[in-house]
Structures are given as C-alpha cells and as structure tokens.
C-alpha cells in the first residue's frame, strides 16, 4: 500500500511547488491573453502552466499514491461450449435457415437491397463533378494567340534579353483559372536563332524564342526553375529536368515525357504569337491519354 516516494513529506512539498508554478503559468496565460501579448508569450505561459500542472498530478500519482502492485484476474472472454453451440445454432438456423426456407424471397430481397445501394451511389458519385470529356486535352492556345505575361501585356520580340524567361498565358486568359492551371507556358529566349529543337520544328522557335507548357509531365507542378547556364527547366517538386534546346526532353528525374512545345511566330509588329496550339495534351499522364 505504500507510496513509492522514499520521503513522502518532502516529495509532497516539491509537487506542491511544481503545481503552484503551474498555476502561475496559467494565470500568466490569462494575463497575456488579456493584454493581447505576443503569441510566443501566450504559448510559453499556457505551455508552462499545463506542463507543470500535469507534471505535478502525474508525480502525485507516481510517487504518493499506493503503488501496489495490484492484481486482477483475466477472465476468459470465450463462453462455455454449450453457450457457443446455442449461439451458433441461433445464427445458422434463424439466419441461414430462414433464408434457405424461402430462397426466392431471399434472392429478391438481396437483389433489391443491392439495387437500392447501387442506385443510391450513382447520383452521389455522379453529382460530384462533370465527366472529363475534352477538358484534359484542350488548351486556349490556337493560331495567332498573343503571348501575354501575368499582367496581360503582350510579349514583344525585344522584351526578353538572351537567357531571359517569362511565364506566358494566352491573351485574355491570364487571369482565368484555366489560363493559370492549364494554359500556363514558359517563354525563353536562347542565343541561337532560330531555335530548332527537334526535326520538323524548324519554324517553331523564331528569333531565339521557345515556348513550352509549364505543367510538369510528372505530376503537374509548374516547372518554375530555369538553370540559365545549363539551359534546363527544373521542376521544384521532384527535380525533373528538361533541356530546352532539344525539345524539353527530360534528362533527369521522374518525368516521363518532354514538355509539349508551343509553336511560335513573330508577327509584322514584332509581337510573339502562337503558331498553333499544343500538339498533345499538357501535364501528367492518365489512362485515356494515347
């Protein structure tokens, strides 16, 4: 029955002191809250108060309460054999037996419940969102679309110095959700001109400008880092790297595909515009993507 403290009176004094300090902490929190003190003072007072109070109560339990040890019997959870038999008999006979006696009714009831569940789930799931249809494959880029920056200003051929990069959107879509989430692209000015990144793309990179979809083909993060010296686009999420000189073919990391390239032309007034949309869906892979 004895407590485990060797000197209970002394232990009691210590615990009392700790708990009084804890109360002081709690009162301090009340004061700090009242005067709207800094958050760190709120946390320090509340934390110290609760910690010391809790420590005191725990120590009281550990050192000053009867420590036993006490013992309790563990009773078998299982019933007797007879009880088990009777239970099983009731389940099998009343449950299974009733169903087996009227198999047609049982079948109809089971089918009915299943149908009820299925039709209930249908509207629940279907109402949650539209079918994907073409939203995953279409962007707002088409022939002649102006490339604009996030403020909506069209990009002129003189805007970027060699090595410069800017995030571009189709004109009119720079503030829209789809523009920012799907159409977003990066425009980079390289030293070579024109930039021929792949065979068949001879006219896609006029005046040293190349544009790629900014959506990483791994998980759709914006490919927001540009290593100017290496001419690599880097995705900060999982470090996929894309060489902008050869069609953004990934040369490092988990991205499986090149970033789709946006064909460009420079119009008579010197504005950079899209020659067409992307020739493939942008962003990460999915089942229906061919």
């Amino acid at each position: 029955m004895q407590p485990s403290a060797r000197n209970p009176e002394r232990t009691e004094r210590y615990i009392a002191l700790i708990m009084v300090l804890g109360i002081a902490g709690c009162i301090g929190f009340g004061w700090a809250y009242w005067v709207n003190a800094e958050p760190w003072i709120l946390g320090a007072t509340l934390g110290a108060g609760a910690l010391l109070l809790g420590f005191g109560v725990t120590a009281w339990g550990k050192y000053l309460m009867p420590r036993g040890p006490f013992v309790e019997e563990r009773h078998d959870l299982r019933g007797t054999d007879v009880e088990r038999e009777r239970f099983a008999a009731a389940v099998v006979q009343r449950g299974g037996g009733i169903l087996g006696r009227r198999p047609v009714l049982a079948g109809i009831a089971g089918f009915g419940m299943a149908a009820f569940g299925v039709v209930l789930a249908f509207p629940l799931i279907r109402s949650l969102g539209p079918l994907p249809k073409k939203t995953l494959t279409e962007t707002d880029w088409k022939y002649g679309t102006y490339l604009v920056d996030s403020t909506g200003r069209p990009i002129h051929v003189d805007d970027l110095a060699v090595g410069g990069i800017v995030t571009v959107f189709p004109k009119g879509y720079q503030d829209t959700e789809k523009g920012q989430a799907v159409d977003q692209s990066v425009l980079i000015r390289l030293s070579t001109t024109p930039v021929i990144t792949q065979p068949g793309r001879e006219k896609w990179g006029p005046a040293g400008y190349v544009a790629y979809s900014k959506l990483c083909t791994h998980l759709g993060c914006p490919v927001g880092l540009y290593e100017q010296q290496l001419e690599q686009l880097v995705c900060p999420c999982h470090q996929s790297m894309f060489n902008v000189n050869n069609g953004a073919v990934p040369n490092f990391g988990p991205a499986p595909r090149p970033l789709p390239q946006l064909p460009l032309f420079v119009d008579g007034r010197g504005y950079v515009r899209a020659r067409s949309g992307f020739n493939q869906p942008v962003g990460p892979g999915y089942w229906e993507r061919s």
């Binding site: 934390g47 809790g54 339990g61 309790e72 939203t135 920012q180 759709g220 470090q239 490092f252």
Partner: protein, 513 residues
C-alpha cells in the same frame, strides 16, 4: 423476486454510509445499475510500463486537435471565392486572395490567440501521427497484435491511415502556395489510376484542377467526415482495450491469466490526467515557440507559381520520396497510358506497405503456427526474425523519407542532385538488407546475455600503494535491489500511508523497489 429487493425499492433512496455522494450514487444505481460494473471499472488494473503511454500521447493529441480545431473552424472560411484582402497583415493588403487564405491569415494575426491555436493544431497533428506510428511499432515489436488482439490492431492501422489522410487534407485548407502544390500533386496521383483515375479526380475536384470545389469539400471531409470516423474507431479501440484488458510484460506474479499494475482510480486516473496536461503543455510550448507552416510567407496559391525546397508534412514524406526516386517508366499502348512513374510509387507502394501491415498477424500466424491466446508481451530480442523484419521495414520507410529531400541534401552536402538520387535509389534497397541481418544478430547476441538490460551493481575501484587496481562491489544503495513486491487484489479500503517502517523517523519510509 425476493422480498429484500422490494423492501429496498419501497424505501426509496437508501441512505449511505458515504454521505451525500454515496446517496447520489445509490440513486444512480437504482436507475441504471452502475454499482457493480462501476466498482470493477474503478478497480480495473492497468499494467505499468513507459511504452504503454505512447498510445496515450496519440489519444491526448487527438483531444487537442478537436479542441483547437473547433476554435479554428469558428474563424476559417472554406471558400475559394477571390476577395480583396483588407485584413491586418499589411503586406497582403489590396491583393486578390481566396477567402480561405484570407481567413487563415486573419485568424493567425487578427484573432487573439489565433496563431497559437493554429500552430498548436498543426503541431498536435504531427505529434498525433507520430505517436500512432511509435505506438504501432511498440505493438509490433512486443507482439501485442497476436490473438486475441488482431482486430484492435487493424482498427489502429485504419486510424493511422485516417490520421495521415486528414493531416494532408487539413494542411491543404489554408489554400497557400505550398499546400496548393500538394493538392495539385494529389489530383495528378488520382488521375494516374488506370481506367477510373480521371473520373475519380474529376468527381473529387468537381471538374478539372483546380476548380472551386476542392477547398469546401476538403473542409467537410476534414472537420466532419474523418473526425467522426476517427472518434468512432477510437471509441471501439478503447472499448476493445477494456474488454480484452491490457497486455503486460512478463514479471513476478504476472501470468497469461492476470493483469498486474495500478488501479484505474486513483493511480492511473492521476497519471493519465497529468499526462493529458503534459501533452497539452508541450504542444502549447511548440505552438508558441516553434513556428510551423507560416502561410503568410508562402502567399496565396496560384497554379502557375511554385516555391523551391518544399516538403510536405513529415508523414507524407515517404510518398514524396518514392515519387522522387522511382524511374520515369510510363507505359503506353493500345491508345492508353498508365503513368507507372506515378501510379506505382504513389498508389501501389502505399497499398503494399499498409497491406503488409494489415496482413502481418496472419503472416506471422502462418509461419509460427501459433494460434494460442497471448496476454504476455514478447521482448523484441526474443523474436529475432520479427524484430529484424520490423527494423528493416522501418529502415525502408526511413530511406524513402530521406529521399523526399533530395534537393535539400544536394544543396547541403554540395553534391550533384544526380549523385543524391542514385544514392537514395541504392540505399532504399540496401539499407533494409543490411538492417535485417544486423538486427537479427543483435537480438541473438542479446538473448545469450542473461542480465542484459538489467541494472548493474557499481564497483569501487581503488589503487593500492603498489599500483594495483582493485575492484570491490560498492555498498548497496536504496533502490539498487530491484525486488518486486507481491501483487494483491485492490482492497475495499486503501490504507494510503501504511505503517511507517522506521518508528524512529516516521516521515521516512523504507521502500522495496
């Protein structure tokens, strides 16, 4: 029925030797019949071991999560509607932000105590998941999952998965740049599931990413759906714990048929109450002194913007690491695509990890042919293969976790990202393969040393005049001998003090530890 029952009933409320409280309890017993069960509940024995408090930490941090979460929900606005910020955080004034982000910033700065509550909530979540994982490791390594506790083990695993999921959903709610990127990744992972992926992601997000539905939906899931399920499962977890009684380590007087320890009232109640306060205190200290998730520095989420060196909360790290080191193996054919570079590390791998956890009791039963009831725990060293497997498993997860910061590691150690990536690809496989035999060997060696882990008696080393060293056992100090007392049933009346052992000095008691 017997006449005595009728007599008692006709007397109305019988008086009690224990005053008004006793009388009130009698009234309660008249109506609900609580006396018998109540007494045995108060006498209920909880075995004493430091490792049994790990689950308690999880429970108490869940309580803190509920309390702070209710506070936050009073100020947070779950809406992606774009508003012009006019709040108290000056750098953001005049900017277009979502109502969710604006309210998250404002509840941090404009609401008194709001930042403390938000940071406590975030810290409590990290502690919650951490405590569950460590608690589960304790259950695993000591064999507490064996019959009859397989069901409770499975409930615990479901709780872990729910906690991880709700943690992810919760830190997405502020709609800041970092968490928004996490939601983008979640969309892409859902999209990667063959056949149904695009439909699932569109149904979850109410359309293509980002849409305007995900924050309100995450809010409902985060504050209503998952907490309710967690609450129900925690109740079931504790009910099964009471019903099956706690396991205990072997020791003097401890058998498969009894429980030795401290009674619910007063000892366990005092320790548990105090511990709840201590966990609250530590969480408050962390919430007040250690900054976590400073969303005002990240800014409003915008799908075309991104931040560098961004890691998710720690419990998502293993997934992020797996996504980083898995090779870019996309499969295409027959007009369809399976993004294996996403689907395998982010969907199949966690399926295997948790599937293995769920299946472990059955796997072990299959190999040991052990179908007996177990209430006494194993020492990990006595089950070398299980311990070695668990250690290798944790090493595997640990390596995946480290792999989630390849970019940070490359910067820190000034090595190329390529080196770090390949190092992690190798280490994820090699480290578990080293850890397994190493742990196995350590366990077997420890088994061979009977007194390993026991307290050692100290020696006094003296140097003689001739330069020899002599070691003589030191005199025994109080507490050196570790003799355990005989356990006894909880008596009706606990004599709190007992007779002083030393009549000369009544304040000081001799104690056999």
């Amino acid at each position: 029925m017997s006449t005595t029952t009728n007599e008692n009933a006709s007397k109305g409320s019988p008086a009690s030797a224990f005053g008004p409280v006793g009388k009130a309890l009698n009234e309660l017993d008249d109506r609900l019949g609580v006396a018998k069960g109540g007494r045995s509940l108060l006498d209920k024995i909880f075995p004493d071991h430091w490792s049994f408090m790990l689950g308690e930490i999880a429970l108490y941090s869940f309580v803190i999560l509920l309390a702070t979460g209710i506070f936050l929900s009073l100020f947070y606005i779950p809406s992606q509607e774009i508003v012009v910020y006019h709040g108290s955080y000056a750098p953001l004034r005049g900017q277009h932000v979502s109502a969710a982000y604006a309210s998250s910033v404002d509840l941090s700065f404009a609401v008194r105590g709001g930042l403390l509550m938000r940071q406590m909530h975030h810290w409590a979540c990290d502690i919650f998941v951490g405590a569950i994982v460590v608690h589960m490791a304790r259950v695993f390594f000591t064999g507490a999952f064996r019959k009859p506790r397989e069901l409770n083990y499975s409930i615990g695993l479901v709780l872990l998965i729910l906690a991880i999921g709700n943690g992810f959903i919760g830190y997405s709610l502020p709609d800041d740049l970092v968490s928004g990127t996490g939601i983008r990744i979640a969309f892409s992972i859902t999209e990667s599931i063959p056949l149904v992926g695009t439909y699932m992601s569109f149904f979850l997000f109410g359309g293509n990413f980002p849409g305007t539905a995900i924050i309100p939906r995450f809010y409902t899931i985060h504050v209503l759906l998952i907490p309710l399920i967690i609450l129900g499962l925690v109740t079931a977890h504790l009910f099964l714990l009471v019903r099956q009684k706690h396991t205990q380590f072997p020791g003097k007087g401890r058998t498969e048929k009894n429980v030795v320890g401290a009674p619910m009232v007063p000892v366990f109640a005092a320790k548990a109450t105090g511990f709840l306060f201590m966990v609250t205190g530590v969480t408050a200290l962390l919430g007040g002194l250690a900054q976590i998730n400073p969303i005002w520095q990240f800014g409003q989420y915008n799908p075309s913007k991104i931040s560098y060196a961004v890691q998710p909360d720690w419990y998502m790290g293993f997934l992020d690491g797996a996504l980083r080191i898995w090779p870019s193996w996309e499969w295409t054919g027959f007009g369809y695509t399976i993004p294996m570079e996403v689907f395998i590390p982010a969907a199949v791998l966690p399926g295997i990890i948790f599937g293995l956890c769920f299946a472990w009791p059955a796997i072990e039963k299959h190999y040991t042919k052990d179908a007996a009831m177990h209430n006494l725990l194993d020492r990990p060293r006595d089950r070398p293969k299980r311990t070695a497997f668990g250690a290798a498993f944790l090493a595997f997860l640990g390596m995946l976790f480290i792999a989630s910061s390849t970019d940070v590691l490359a910067n820190f150690f000034h090595v190329s990202l390529n080196t770090v990536l390949w190092a992690m690809r190798v280490l994820v496989v090699v480290v578990p393969l080293i850890v397994y035999p190493l742990t196995l060997k350590i366990c077997q060696e420890l088994q061979a040393v009977p007194d390993a882990g026991k307290r050692k008696r100290s020696n006094v080393v003296t140097r003689t005049a001739t330069g020899e060293y002599l070691a003589t056992p030191a005199a025994e100090r109080p507490g050196d001998s570790h003799e355990e007392l005989d356990a006894e049933p909880v008596p009706d009346f606990i004599d709190f003090e007992g007779p002083p052992a030393d009549p000369e000095n009544p304040g000081v008691r001799q104690v056999n530890r």
